[in-house]
Structure formats: C-alpha cells, structure tokens
C-alpha cells in the first residue's frame, strides 16, 4: 500500500497507545516492586528513585528460599508436559490424518471434545485416581493432567495443519523404504516444526499459570509450583505489598523468556495455515 506520512503517523499513534495500555499494568508492578510499602501507596506511578527505592520486597522473596525449588518444579512440569503434548498430539494427529481406519472420524471428534469441557469438573475423580495410583504430591500427576488437558487443542491444530500438507512427501518416503514410524519421526515431525511453536505457546500458558491442580494434586512443599508458591506467598504477606509485587515480578519473568524463545516461530506457525478454522 502506498503510505503517506500522515496516515503512517496515525497508525503508529494507535499502536503506541495500545502498547501503553498493554504494558502499563506490567510496568506498574515492576516499578512498585522496587519500592517500599510507603512508596507504593504514596505515589504508585512514581519511578523507584531516591528514597522510594527499596529492595525489601525482593529480600523477602529471597528469604523465602524455596523459590528456586518452585521454579524447578514449574519448569519440570511445564517442559515435560509440553514435550508429551507436542509429541503425542502430533502422533495422534498424524495417525488420524494419514491413515484410513474404522472409526477414524469418530476418534478425531472424541479427541477434541476436551476443548469444550474444563477438566476441572473431574477434579474429585482425578484425585481419587491419583490416590489409587499413589501419585499424589508428585509432579507426575500434574504432568499427566496437563498432558491430557493440552492434547485436544494440540491435536486440533496439528490435524488442521497436516490436512493442508501434501501427502506426496510421505508417499515418497514410503517408496524410499521408510517404515511408518520413521516416516513420522524423520519426515512429518520436521514438516510440522513451524506449528510446534504455536501449539507450544498455547499449551504452555495455562500449564505455567495453573493454580488449581497444584493445589489439589500436589500441594506439598517439595512439589509446589511457582504460581502456587506465589499465591501462598501472597496469602502470607497480605499486607506486605513490596514482597507481593516482587514475587509477582519474579513470576512473570520466566514466562516472558519462554515466550520470546517461541515467539519468532509462533507467527510463522500460525501463518503456515495452522489455525485455519
């Protein structure tokens, strides 16, 4: 499109305004996390300079020495669940799109049914199940639930994408003598790489941020996740807002890093026709 400077300025104006709206609340947290409680309430929008500056909040967070453990737990759960969701989801989507078999369509529908119903509905049954399996207070329980919860969307997106991929390359591999297993791992997996980032981001957010299942399935000190840790921390420091804000800031950073890692691939994945509708 021909761009005239005036409309270009208007466009950037709109974008910058919305950026401010999106960023302002986050900055507010970050800024105030470096202030003392008094500083927070005297002028919430002031920068943490001069006498306002205080790292007391972070000191409280650090004093609660368990945060590295919580981060480790969250990372473990999130990453293992992600790998499982991506791998098993891609495998199932491949199986569903590549082969004709009885009940294929029905199975496909069944597998994406879970998009509609929050698994939270089944909490009590899940808990009973994990008790029987002896998996309460383990990260394994969380991984299993998150994997089950993430699979429908993953399968949906992968299926949509695989449908749009020409089948000839798989036939070609077959003629080259690859087994069906190796076709998946050596041909299909590299093919869906761009979509993987998309699925990864969409699956990662709810896992990292979940509060409910850690609370019910693995509330133990040793298996606590960051989000739960933060929430409990807030509960204990209801009036110590410096500490609360510092904890919140600390909780945002890792998601941000993961997002930046995936974000380049993300758009490529979406535009690769992943979510066509």
């Amino acid at each position: 499109m021909r761009s005239n400077p005036l409309s270009s300025m208007a466009i950037h104006g709109v974008l910058i305004l919305y950026s401010a709206l999106a960023l302002f609340p986050l900055l507010l947290i970050a800024i105030n996390s470096f202030k003392s409680k008094k500083g927070i309430f005297r002028d919430p929008t002031a920068l943490p300079l001069g006498e306002l500056y205080s790292t007391k909040g972070y000191q409280s967070v650090l004093a609660n020495g368990d945060f590295p453990l919580y981060f480790g737990n969250s990372l473990t759960v999130t990453l293992i669940s992600l790998v499982l969701i991506l791998l098993l989801g891609a495998m199932a989507a491949h199986g569903l799109t590549e082969y004709r078999f009885k009940g294929n369509g029905l199975l496909g529908l069944y597998l994406i049914l879970g998009i509609m119903v929050p698994i939270r509905l089944g909490t009590v049954a899940l808990l009973e199940l994990f008790v029987k399996l002896g998996l309460t207070n383990t990260l394994t329980a969380l991984v299993l639930v998150y994997t089950a919860q993430g699979l429908p969307i993953a399968i949906f997106i992968f299926t949509e994408f695989l449908k749009s991929v020409s089948g000839e390359i798989k036939d070609s591999a077959r003629i080259d003598g690859l087994s069906e297993y190796r076709i998946f791992f050596e041909v299909v997996l590299p093919l869906i790489r761009p979509v993987i980032a998309t699925v990864a981001v969409f699956s990662m957010i709810p896992i990292w941020n979940d509060l409910w299942f850690p609370l019910i399935l693995s509330p133990g000190e040793e298996t606590r996740t960051v989000t739960l840790g933060i929430q409990q921390f807030i509960g204990q420091y209801t009036v110590n807002w410096s500490a609360v804000l510092a904890a919140l800031t600390v909780a945002i950073v890792p998601v941000l890093i993961m997002y930046v890692i995936f974000s380049k691939q993300l758009i490529r994945g979406i535009t690769a026709g992943a979510v066509k509708g």
Partner: protein, 416 residues
C-alpha cells in the same frame, strides 16, 4: 528459614531412625486456612511439640482462606487430606463430621480443660460427639489509631451516640477516613459489621437463642436495627468503598489513612508489625449509657482429626497436646488475638491483646449469629448475611428488606 528448620528436623529424624533402628518418624500434616500463621507454627509452636515427641514430625500446610474449603474437601474426597484438620466452628465442621471426614474425639482427656460453651462449637447438637479440640476464639471490636485520636482530641466511644460523634469529628477534620471498611469482599461487612455491633440491639445470646427457639425473627426490631446501623456506617467509609477489599482496608488502616478499623482480635500480629502508630482497641458501643455492651467472642478455630488418617495415634497425641496449658500459652502469645479457649491459667503479654481480653469482663459475650444451627440451609445463612449486609451498606437494599431476606432463608428450611 523454614526449609532449614524442616531439613534439620528431617535430618534429625533420619539420624535418630538410623541410630535407634526402631523409632520410625510419623509425619503429621495440618490443614489450615491460617496461611498468615505459617511462621508462628513453624518457628514457635511445632518445635516445642517435636522436642517432646521426637518421633512425630508435624508439618503445617495452610491453604489460603479463599481456597481452603474447596481444596480441603477435594483432598478429603480424594483421601489425600492432612491428618490434622483445622475446623471452622459449628455447622461447617458439623457437616464435615457428618460426612465422615472428622473423627469423634470425645474420648480425649484434654477435653476436660474446656468449657461446655467452647466445646459446643464442635459438638453435635446433643453433645454425644465432639470432633474438634477448641483452639481459639476471636473477639470482635474496633481498633483505632491512637495517634489520630490524640491529634483530634477524641476519647474512646462507649455508646452508639459517642461512636457516631467520634466518626463525625474525624470526618469533619478530613485528614483521616473515619472508618476503614469496604464491601467488595462482603464478608467483612457481615463479620466486622453486622455481627460485631448488632448484638447490642438484639441482646446478644438472648436474641440468638430466641432465633433458634423460634421466638424471634430476623424481622424483629433488634435484628432490623443491626442492619440499620450498617446503613448509618455508609457515609463514614472511604470513597469507592464498594470496590475496597479486605486487604485494601488493612492497608488503609495500617498506613494511617483511616482512623478506625472494625475488626477482630486476629489482626493484632499483622497490624502491630505493619502499623507505624500506636494501636488501641475498643468494644462495640452499647445502645446507650444505660445498656450493656456486647461482644462477639467467637469460637473460631478448632482442631480435629481426619477420620481417615493413617496416623491415628500420632494425631491423637498431637490433639491431646493442643489441649494442654503449654499449647494454650504458646498459641495465645505467639498469635496474640487468638485467645485459647482452655480453662488453663496463662499470661497474655501483648497489650493490645489484653485490651481485647478486657472486653470480656466489661461486656456480655455472644457468638456470630448465623453460625450455630441457623447456618444449615442452602445457602448457608452466614454466606447470605455477607451479601445482605454488603447490600445494605452499598445502599442497594433497605435494612428491612435485608432482614426479610435473612428470615426468608430461615423460613425455607428451619424448624425451631
């Protein structure tokens, strides 16, 4: 800090297990909604117990109050709840007992240390079974900023008239928000408002028992007057109080921006840590100079045993200990504001706590009106009172309509 303690205990336990060979450590987990008290339990209470009973390792695992009931019920259903369960009083705990989640502990010797009134909060109506050791009560009243009162030359109010005069004076001065309370979380409105000052109008226990006996209704004058008081509070609250939550109110008061804070004694520890001015407490005002004052000395926390625990013996040992004088003194002094319900003699050192304790002798005591027997409907009457009181303060409902709403809730199911 906490982990260090935890690790040391675990380490010590491991050593002792390894050296003695037979003494296995039993781990007891306590469920609680008092996440604010984590440090108190970890650093002050549990170490004392573990010193006496090295073979038992106690872990305090609180869940934030908003999630406590849901999470606890889910864990009970799934069989992963802790061995020791902190009980909310009356109908809530009773229902848990009836659902088979709390064990009957009537045989506990230490129960003799508690008055029947205290035990009533965690016993069946016919007192056949007791399912929690009474732990503590909280006393409702008001805290105030002594510095502000001094500054404005105000005296602690005794009667309703004094009370509003003080509020008017603070409002006229304009430096302070007269009263720190919001209606967003609703429960403060009912708990620190209606059931705090209301007993003065319905005559405390008398009125409450009359409701239970069916000789009184919520639409009777005293109960309606309680709601009317709520409506009178509205002008003294901070602007935007409708969106003011519990923590907002706490901050408003501790930062010195509000002069009076309707509350309960459980705030003592947190407030003393955070407020940079001198704190004082006064009892809910009496109707007039010739009337008695009433306080809500609410039996708030009990401690019971998960009926399905695998560590029954250790759990009973622990419960027995919680009925001891040692525990009573530890708790009351470590968490001033939670007053042990035991008949033991012990010293309360905290001055503010003493101020609250003093109210017991000055005023007649009762408990929160909707908790015993009346709270068994759907929805629980106390939850209903939250919403009704908040509505009255918000001005979206008249006192009469709120009273009618409460009575409707009772009429729907309650047979005196």
């Amino acid at each position: 800090m906490r982990t260090t303690i935890l690790r040391t205990t675990l380490f010590a336990a491991a050593i002792s297990a390894a050296t003695t060979g037979w003494a296995e450590t039993t781990v007891l987990t306590i469920e609680s909604w008092r996440s604010d008290d984590q440090a108190i339990w970890d650093e002050k209470i549990i170490p004392v117990f573990e010193k006496q009973f090295p073979e038992i390792d106690v872990q305090f695992k609180p869940t934030t109050p908003t999630e406590y009931n849901a999470a606890l019920n889910a864990r009970l259903a799934g069989g992963t709840a802790g061995d020791i369960i902190t009980c909310r009083p009356f109908d809530n705990a009773l229902a848990m007992y009836e659902a088979g989640n709390l064990a009957d502990i009537k045989s506990l010797e230490g129960l003799a240390n508690f008055s029947d009134v205290a035990k009533a909060a965690w016993s069946t109506d016919n007192s056949d079974a007791t399912f929690c050791v009474p732990m503590a009560s909280v006393i409702h009243g008001f805290m105030y900023n002594k510095d502000a009162f001094k500054e404005l030359g105000l005296a602690v109010p005794k009667t309703e008239a004094d009370f509003y005069a003080v509020l008017d004076a603070i409002k006229a001065d304009g430096n302070y928000i007269p009263m720190a309370m919001g209606t967003k979380d609703a429960w403060e409105a009912a708990t620190m408002g209606y059931t705090n000052v209301g007993p003065a109008y319905w005559g405390g226990e008398e009125g409450r028992m009359a409701l239970i006996n069916g000789t009184a209704k919520f639409t009777d004058e005293g109960f309606v007057e309680g709601f009317k008081q709520m409506a009178k509070w509205t002008p003294y609250l901070g602007s935007g109080f409708q969106a003011q939550g519990y923590t907002d109110s706490q901050n408003l008061f501790t930062l010195g921006r509000a002069a009076i804070y309707p509350t309960g004694s459980w705030e003592i520890t947190g407030f003393q840590e955070n407020a940079e001015f001198e704190l004082g407490a006064f009892a809910p005002p009496a109707k007039d100079a010739s009337s008695d004052c009433y306080i809500s000395d609410h039996t708030d926390i009990g401690i019971g045993m998960n009926a399905n625990t695998k560590n029954k013996e250790a759990a009973l040992t622990f419960l027995e200990w919680t009925s001891s004088a040692e525990f009573a003194s530890l708790l009351t002094n470590a968490a001033p504001g939670f007053f042990s319900l035991a008949n033991h003699n012990f010293e309360v050192e905290n001055e503010l706590a003493q101020e609250f304790m003093a109210m017991r002798s000055e005023c007649k005591a009762t408990i929160r009106v909707a908790h015993q027997i009346l709270g068994r409907g759907e929805p629980a009457l106390s939850n209903e009172l939250w919403t009704l009181t908040a509505n009255v303060i918000n001005g979206t409902m008249t006192a009469e309509a709120a009273a009618q709403g409460a009575q409707d809730n009772l009429d729907a199911w309650f047979k005196p």
